[in-house]
Amino acid sequence: MAVATIPWLDDLDVALSRAREERKIVLVDFLKLPG
């Protein structure tokens, strides 16, 4: 089965702007990725 890919952004201002345009909610994930 294919693994789904989520188009994560790393700029909150860009995400908020897109949310305004697309009438969506911003999901902010604070995570720890191994170096």
Binding site: I6, D10, A15, R23, V28, D29, F30, K32, L33
Partner: protein, 155 residues
């Protein structure tokens, strides 16, 4: 979340349809930008998920790992919370009901019924819809903390 929940096709579909996903790696050495956001949103643990409306207003947050069967209804709760904050009570009611009926085994299902009652009250301006939802909450989840919060209606 990255190994189990996010690769799930149902989760990815829900996120891409209704959310703009944004993530920040807090592992040291974190960038100054990430540290500032971490302070702004009072993030003290990972994973911390913060749901924001387009005006940067926090509508809900979730801390800790959730498998797909818990995370998808959590996304529904965030959508319902955003609708409530924007006074879209009929829409909020539908979203909370969708969580309660679509994910009855999820941890947030009792909370969904609680908020469906609140949304019905704000939508109608009467207590009838609220009583329906909260009575269902008491019948289906009598041991839940959310029924405790609503149980005065049975007094």
């Amino acid at each position: 979340m990255d190994t189990v929940t996010y690769p799930d096709a149902r989760v990815a579909d829900e996120i891409t349809t209704h959310f703009v996903p944004c993530h920040f790696n807090t592992a040291e050495p974190a960038s100054e930008k990430v540290k500032q956001l971490s302070r702004e949103f009072r993030q003290v643990w990972t994973p911390t998920l913060v749901f924001l409306d387009p005006h940067r207003i926090e509508v809900r947050r979730s801390v800790g790992y959730l498998p797909p069967e818990e995370f998808i209804p959590e996304l529904g709760m965030a959508r319902g919370a955003a609708a409530m904050i924007h006074a879209e009570y009929a829409h909020a009611f539908d979203l909370f009901r969708a969580v309660a009926t679509g994910w009855p085994e999820a941890a947030v299902a009792p909370e969904a019924l609680y908020w469906a009652g609140v949304a019905a009250y704000r939508r109608d301006g009467t207590a009838e819809g609220l009583r329906q939802q909260w009575n269902e909450l008491g019948e289906r989840y009598p041991r839940s903390a959310w029924w405790t919060r609503a149980s005065f209606i049975a007094a």
